[in-house]
């Protein structure tokens, strides 16, 4: 019998679902093993939210619930709970769902700050009127899924690589727990590492890195972190390269931004990277700010609005 699956998109950009389609021809093989009963983004379905006073949502029961995106408003919360209720296995699909993802950068600001910034630019007329009818109210902050519902499988990646999506869906269909890479991006990065950062400062990636000629193989290019650029490889989960494993950004000679979330599940990407730098004697004060190190994992209370310090 085929595995029955439902999918819902929460606080997400739909890139994760596109990545499912990016499995290409192997998508047919997935379809031979998994039957999608409900998939608003790919099929002619409405989201399972209860509208027009309906008592029950129309979400069918299923084996697999695939949720992309974190939880930012009450609609997301209701859908997430509904999927949890109807599905045996819930997958947090993509870094937004596992760690908040890019949208969780909002956690550095209060809702009030976000709304006033958004609705009071120079060109907006009624600066005080935030829409409050027919839009779902915001929750206090942007949450990862597991802050509200129990999650059975975590699938980080922004978006998860199609190779791993294929492998994982096929293993689920054959009754196995999917195996995902557990190393860090550095562990699978082919560049030349000498174990020492050249400068006392690190900088953001505003100038090109050093390498000798256009097609120089990666194994001859010096590690970008050792060249003094902030590279999140040491604290980020591997997997973006799919089956051949070479990290995607590095293969374009660009430092890793950390899109697969922390290397150890409960890690704090910013703290762990800064700690590693500080312990090596690098002056981390040379960075203009460090919030961007949590660009992909600001949920779980890791980013919060700054407090006003009470000094007496």
């Amino acid at each position: 019998m085929k595995l029955r699956a439902v999918s819902e998109t929460l606080n997400a950009c739909s890139g994760c679902e596109i990545s499912i389609l990016d499995t290409g021809e192997r998508f047919y093989e997935i379809l031979n093993n998994i039957e999608f009963l409900h998939f608003p983004l790919l099929m002619d379905h409405k989201s399972c939210i209860k509208t027009n006073g309906k008592k029950e949502s129309e979400l069918p029961e299923a084996d697999l619930g695939i949720l992309s995106g974190g939880i930012r408003n009450e609609e997301h919360l209701e859908i997430a709970k509904e999927v949890r209720k109807k599905c045996d296995i819930v997958i947090a699909f993509g870094t937004c769902a596992t760690h908040g993802g890019i949208p969780a950068l909002t956690n550095s600001y209060t809702n009030q700050e976000v709304l006033s910034r958004y609705y009071s630019t120079e060109t907006t007329d009624n600066t005080s009127d935030y829409p409050d009818k027919d839009v779902p109210p915001l929750l206090e902050r942007c949450y990862a899924l597991d802050e509200h519902i129990k999650v059975d499988l975590y699938f980080p990646g922004c978006p998860p690589h199609p190779h791993h999506i294929y492998n994982a869906f096929i293993s689920l269909a054959t009754g196995k727990i999917p195996a995902l890479p557990e190393k860090s991006v550095c562990d699978v990065c082919p560049v030349l590492k000498k174990g020492k950062i050249d400068s006392k400062n690190v900088k953001r990636f505003l100038a090109p890195p050093q390498y000798n000629y256009a097609n120089e193989p990666l194994k001859d290019m010096r590690c970008l972190l050792e060249q003094g650029f902030v590279c999140m490889g040491p604290v980020t989960r591997a997997g973006c390269g799919g089956d051949n494993m070479i990290p995607r950004c590095i293969s374009a000679r660009v430092p890793c931004q950390g899109c697969y979330g922390p290397a150890s599940f409960n890690g704090n990407q910013r703290l762990d990277l800064l700690n590693a730098l500080a312990s090596q004697g690098i002056n981390t004060g040379s960075l203009p700010n460090t919030e961007f190190l949590l660009e992909f994992s600001g949920a779980h209370n890791l980013l919060r609005p700054r407090i006003k310090l009470v000094r007496k």
């Binding site: 700690n275 500080a278 981390t284 004060g285 919060r304 609005p305």
Partner: protein
């Protein structure tokens, strides 16, 4: 309310100086408040910032790392490493909405029983002035990891 508030403070004490200093404080019967829960570690340099941040995130009202004076670390430069990380922890705490003053690092030698008592007393007072950790309420009400 401020009178009733009894802070929970986590202390990471290095085995060779601070923890021994605490023993001396006991031997000379120095008085200090009971709010600090000591955790003995081999060196202040082995306290990963994650531990400090995690403790505060879970609702501790203060965290104090205590080690040997600079130059006297039994593993040569563990305490200098710990010192280098302090700024990092402060920055991260600030962005997490936790007052950086809830975290302190001090050096106490194995002979400084009196100083040990004074450090703990002062830090406890400092935390009492700050009040309960803002995440404490949050932790109990909204922050559930299942």
């Amino acid at each position: 309310m401020p009178d009733k508030f009894e802070p929970k403070i986590i202390g990471f004490l290095c085995n060779w100086c601070a923890y021994a200093g605490g023993d001396v404080a006991g031997v000379i019967r120095a008085q200090y408040p009971p709010n600090m829960r000591p955790i003995r570690v081999m060196c202040s340099g082995m306290v990963h910032p994650d531990l400090v941040v995690e403790a505060l995130k879970m609702g501790a009202d203060g965290v104090i790392i205590m080690g040997c004076h600079i130059g006297q670390c039994h593993y040569q430069d563990g305490n200098s490493k710990a010192m280098a990380r302090v700024e990092v922890v402060r920055v991260v705490l600030e962005d997490m909405g936790i007052e950086p003053e809830r975290f302190a690092i001090v050096w106490v030698s194995s002979a400084e029983g009196k100083r040990f008592a004074k450090v703990i007393t002062d830090f406890t007072d400092q935390i009492k002035t700050l009040g309960p950790n803002p995440l404490r309420k949050d932790f109990e009400l909204n922050f559930k990891r299942v």
